[in-house]
Structures are given as C-alpha cells and as structure tokens.
Amino acid sequence: MSSAASLVQKPWVRWASLAVLVVLLLVIPLLFDATTNATLARIGVFAVAVLGLNVVMGYTGQVSLGQIFFLGLGAYVTAYGVSQDWNIVLVFILACLIPAVAGLLIALAAARLGGLAIAMVTIALPIVGVPLAKRLSEFTGGSQGVSAQFSDAPDWSGLADDQWQLYLVILIGGITFLLTRNLVHGKYGRAFAIVKGNEAVASSMGISPYRYKVLAFTVASLIGGVSGFLYMVVIQYTSPETMSFAHSIQLLASMVIGGAGSILGSVLGGAYYVLVPQLTNIIDPNLTALLQGAILLLVLFVLPGGLVSLPRLWRRRRGKGSGTSPSPLPAPTSEDTVSIALGSRGSTPPPPTPPTESEERQDT
C-alpha cells in the first residue's frame, strides 16, 4: 500500500500524467459529436466562473454572491465589442479588464466591511445588474438580449464549429486555470489563506487583510470576465436573465459541491452546474427543483468537503480497513466533544468525522 504512495512522488510519473492530460485535452474535441462538445464547452465556461468564485471565497474566505454579475458583464462587453467589429483580441482584453476594474472599485469600498456586509453588497450586483442591463439597452440590447456570431470555425482549421469552440474554451480556460493555480499555490495564495484563517493574525504578521481582500475580489472579477467571454464563444447570445440572482446562488452551491478552495474542485463544480440540470431533465423535467435540492443535500451529506474530497475519503476508508493507518494523534476537535454534548445518553457518538482542512476550527 505504501509503494503506491511513493510511486506518485517520482518526477517522471508527474510528467507522464501531465502529458496524458495535455494529450487528452487535445484529442477529446475530435472524439465526440456536437452535443457532447457543446456540453463540455459549457462545463469549461462555468468551471472558470467557479474558479473565480473560489479565489475570493474558497481561498480568501470572503462571501461573494455576485460572481454571475461579472460573467454577465464580460458577456455584454464581448457582445458589444463584436457588434462594433473590434479586433477579437482587443475584445477579449476588454472582457477581462472592464469586469476587473468594476470588481476593484467595488472591493475598494466593500472590503472595509465585515463578512456578512460584503455578502450583501455582492448580492446587490446581480439584483441591480438585471434592471440596469434592461435600462442601458443601446449597449445591451435591453430585454431582447443580444447575440454575437464570432466563434465559428475558420476554414483553415478544417474543424466543425463546436470543435473550434471547445478548443477555444480549453485553451483560454486552461491558461486561466494554470495562472490561478500558480497564484494560489504561491506567495499570494499563502497570504489569502492567512487572511481567511484570522484577519487579526494576518495584520499582526504584516499582511494587510484589506489589500489582499481587494486583490482577491479583483482577480475573481477578472476571471469572471474571462468566463463571460467564453460564455459568448459557446452560447453566442446573452440577455439580462444570464446574470439573475438565482444563478449566483447555484454558482455558490456548485463551488461548495465541487470542493471549496480547490482547483480541481472548480472543474468538478463547473461539471455539477451544467450536468445536474441535464440529469434532472432525464429523470423528470417537472421535478427539477425537488431533484436538484435532493442531489445537493445528498452530496453534502456524504461528502461535506465536496466531490474533491472523494479520493481522500476513499483512501482513508481503505486505510482504516487495513488498521495500519498511521493517522497522527488528532487534537480533540470540537466535533468530538460537541457531538458527545449533543448525542443522546449512552449511544456511542458517531465516529468523529475527521475535519477536512476547510472545516478546521481553532478550539478556543
């Protein structure tokens, strides 16, 4: 059992798996039909959106219910740019910058407030964004929405439109994921984690919570802009309904279901956002809300840490089975003692679920 663990440490294994991933990403669009490619592309779009939300929420611990607003803003900027026939690269840059500037301005004012107040300010974004989009109809096409045809496959590529679009999503999304991974695993990521842990401790270490919260918000809204651009690449139409508040709540749920504060969790979150409605449609279109609620609660019951904690949970279950698990002496976490406090008399309390890193609570 221990040989498998060391195998994975060897450098050539890391390179091989990276190569496999790159090859997979290059080949996939050619393997499947248009419908599946479209589904994969949409998963890519919302994986990037969830990644942005993770930067500000999963990694930095600030509650944001406004991520869908930046996706919508990115989409509108793209649609307007295309309708004015600007160069596509310029359109992409604007689709990233304008939401980032909006995020920066909002964060500069909001980051001073406490946790719940920030949540409220971000809630305002989609809720005020929808009527605002209707009002600025000369830019946004108002309630009819606006479509933008710019992502059809060029002739030299010899690809079908859906394949070309999926490649665009994989290319741009992949780069965004790589840059974000390096950001959160590097110096900034550590600062975010400390700000999330305890702001007072962070400031005592010379890390200004305010500055890093603003940075996290700005990066999140920039990534939101990227997902807006990719949304237009894939859907080629947007309307005020795109940034409705209900979608912002579903993005939050997808982030937690995928696994908060994890790069892979963002991919799984994007997949959850797109595939669950399709799954419930297969089971029974009239029971959408009932099924989606049940699925959400079921996953959280089995995997409180989200889908990304599946391998860890599976390894631990296998580890516990063989009895040689060298698990270190766990500090008496609040779950143990409280579950005893709450449990009924005499019944041995459920085996204390070891806290995943996002559940660690200092035991004051």
Binding site: V8, S17, V20, T35, T39, I235, S239, T288
Partner: protein
C-alpha cells in the same frame, strides 16, 4: 521546474479521469451526424408511425406556472388524438404524436443546451415560453434547419420570414394587442387621459409601442404618465399611488404577473382611483384575476383576446371547454382549472399543428414548413368567434387578429365601440 509540485501531480491525474467520467455522463445523447435532408429522405424525429415534437420551456423557477401550461395543453390535445389512433398525415400515413419537454428554468444557456439535446431526436421545436430562451437557440435552429414554430412569445423577430426562415410565432405580437385597444380608445367621442404601467421588458415595451401606434393622431387622447415595474417585484403599490395622482380616467396596464395584477386592482380601489382598465390577454382571466381583484368596481375592464379564458364561468359549461378540461386532466396530469391562458394557447397550437400535418405530403422539415405557412382562416378550438389562424402573412404570427373584449361582471363580451 520547481513549480510542478505534488499538487500538480494529483490535479492532473484526477482531472484526466474526471474529464473522461464527465464525458460518459454527458454524451449519452450522441446520435449520428444529421443526415442530409434530401428531398425524400425523412427528417429526424419522424417515422412511418410516429412524429416527435420538442419543447424547451421553464418548468421550474418564477415562470414555472405558465411554463408548465405550455406543455400541458399540447400534451392534452395530442393525448386525445393518439387515443383515437393518431393523426392522418397528408402522405397517407397515420402517426401518433410524442412530446419531449425539457426544463430550461427561463435561462438562455439551458434552453440552448436543451435544443442541442433534442435537435437530432425531434422533428420540430414548438410551444416554448419566453423571448430570451427562444432567442438563445434561434440562430442554431436556423443553421441546423430545425423548425422552431408556434412558440409562445410575442417577439416580432420570430414572425419575420426573412430574418427567421425556420421560425413562426403563435401568440399575437405584443404590438398587435396594444394597437387594437388604442384604436378602440381613439374611436371614443370624449377626451381621455391615460396612465400607463408596463413591465420593464420586451413584453411591456411591445404593448406600449402598439398602443401608441393605435392612438396616433387621435387628438382626444393624452398620456398623463408612463411607469414601469420589474417582473421580480413583490408589489406595485408605489407605482399605483403615483399614477393615481394624475387622476387619469383610463389605465393601460401591460403586466404579465398574475399576483401583481390582482394587487393592482385591489390597490386602485383602496386609493379610490376608478379608471377604465386595459389588461393584456394573458392576465385578464375572470376567475383567477378579476374576481379576487374585485374588478366589477371599475367602470370598464377591457382586454384583448383571441381565445376563451379557462376560468370564465361560462367556459366549464361549454362543449369545447369540457373536453379541454377533461383532456388536460387525463392526458396531461393537470387536474385543476389553469390560472394561466398558456394552457389554452398550447392546446390550440396542437390543433394548428394537426392541420399542418394533414397538409404535409412528405415527412421532411422543408415540406412541413411549406404546409405550416399555408393555413388560412382556420378557427381553432376555444377560439373567440371573429378571430382565426392565418399563417400566410409575413411579419405576422399564426394568430394576429384580436378582438377587444369588455368584462361584464361574469365573463367577456366583444366590445366594438367605446361607450
């Protein structure tokens, strides 16, 4: 190279597996590449014994009420026809009609996803509710040459054959309804001041645009104040108060949310502002709206309609009304009287498609579109006398002629003049 740390190793391996697993779940719908629809080869979604129709409409969320109806009506109509053996097509074959409905929760990207799912399995898309959702897959439907017809939105783009060759609207475009009432008001002998409250989207804008066209040049009509409200608002009391201060004697109301219309009727009485009302066709049902709102307190309540209202007292006694409610209950599992007109409209869409199928000579989408655009002066079931289906006019949906009705305390009667 130090960047590729332990994290990257786990991420890349699991991501690879993750993507493959995701594919397995995602691609179960992969059919064959769309066959070239040659002149005789049958289009997808139709066989010698059956034809499949696709619907993407909101079955969850705020617009689930009318959304559920857009499926229930057509399912009821064809449920009854299938029970009698099916429909005899122009090409001599008798086919049963199967409805594949998917929920898009009024979200454009889900509507496009549902269309991608259905386009190779159904013969045509129909009856879906909502402008943004229908627009989301309009271009794709044109590119894939999939009919998107008799859809429940008043957006004029779907009835413009040049812009949307594979599309056709069913309900009158919002402008038609507004214009019909405007013309009637203009024909009145006295002067009138009008207060306007419209929903802040294409629905409300369309009505107001049509109304202004209807009263163009009429010197006796002046608009006192024009306000909007949001579909997600919980109340319109403030707007009512502001409009009441204008003391206008006519209230042009373009609202599609049933509870808000009821509270508006009640509020106007509270602040004793008793103008004549105009209500759009989909929020003027006597039973669901006018009675709870106490509408008999107003001098006149006008609406525009082409179909009977399911909750009108006379409806349940009429022959057609009884069969409709019975079919709804038996085949569409919709046990009670619908509060939304979309059930009746969806039933009528079924009837119109029935006529089209009878005219089709080949099981192809091209032939279907030709037959679709050749229906003239057809009085569908539950239609008000004087209005009919006419799909031959470019720029007009299947139903364009509308009749102004006046509420008489129990139901509606046609109103030819403004007395």
């Amino acid at each position: 190279m130090t960047r590729i740390r332990r994290g990257m190793r786990a991420a890349s391996v699991v991501a690879g597996i993750g993507i493959v697993a995701v594919l397995a779940a995602g691609c179960r719908g992969g059919g064959d590449t769309p066959s070239e629809s040659g002149s005789s080869a049958p289009s997808p979604g139709i066989t010698d014994t059956s034809v499949a129709l696709g619907i993407t409409t909101p079955l969850s969320g705020a617009t689930a009420g009318p959304g559920t109806c857009t499926v229930a009506g057509i399912t009821a109509y064809f449920g009854a026809k299938n029970a009698d053996g099916g429909i005899e097509f122009g090409d001599g074959k008798t086919r049963t009609v199967e409805i594949n409905a998917l929920d898009d929760g009024y979200d454009p990207q889900k509507a496009k996803a549902n269309f991608d799912q259905l386009k190779d399995k159904v013969f045509a898309m129909t009856s879906g509710l909502g402008t943004p959702t229908n627009r989301a897959y309009r271009e794709a439907a044109i590119a894939d040459e999939v009919p998107q017809v008799l859809i429940q939105t008043g957006d004029p783009i779907f009835s413009n054959q040049q812009e949307s060759p594979w599309q056709l609207g069913f309900v009158p475009i919002y402008q038609n309804e507004g214009e019909a009432f405007g013309k009637l008001l203009a024909s009145s002998s006295e002067n009138h001041t009008v207060a306007i409250l419209a929903q802040n989207d294409d629905y409300g804008e369309g009505y107001v645009e049509g109304f202004k066209k209807g009263i163009e040049g009429a010197s006796n009509i002046t608009i006192a104040k024009e306000l909007t409200y949001e579909a997600t608002d919980t109340t319109v009391d403030a707007q009512l108060t502001e409009l009441a201060s204008t003391k206008a004697d006519v209230f042009f109301n373009a609202m599609s949310i049933t509870p808000l219309v009821i509270s508006a009727l009640q509020k106007a009485q509270e602040i004793n502002w008793l103008p004549s009302w105009f209500l759009p066709s989909n929020t003027s049902s006597p039973g669901a709206i006018l009675e709870p709102g106490g509408a008999s307190a107003f001098p006149g309540v006008y609406t525009v309609a082409f179909a009977q209202s399911a909750s009108a007292p006379t409806f349940a006694d009429s022959e057609e009304g009884k069969t409709f409610l019975a079919d709804l209950k038996e085949y569409a599992d919709y046990p009670d009287v619908p509060a939304f007109p979309h059930c009746v409209w969806s039933y009528q869409i079924g009837a119109v498609l029935d006529q089209v199928f009878q005219k089709m000579t080949e099981p192809t989408r091209d032939n279907f579109m030709e037959a679709l655009r050749s229906i003239k002066d057809y009085v569908a079931p539950l239609m008000l006398e004087g209005s009919s289906v006419d799909t031959t006019v470019d720029g007009q949906p299947a139903v364009s002629s509308v009749i102004v009705q006046k509420y008489n305390g129990k139901g509606y009667a046609t109103a030819d003049t403004w007395e």
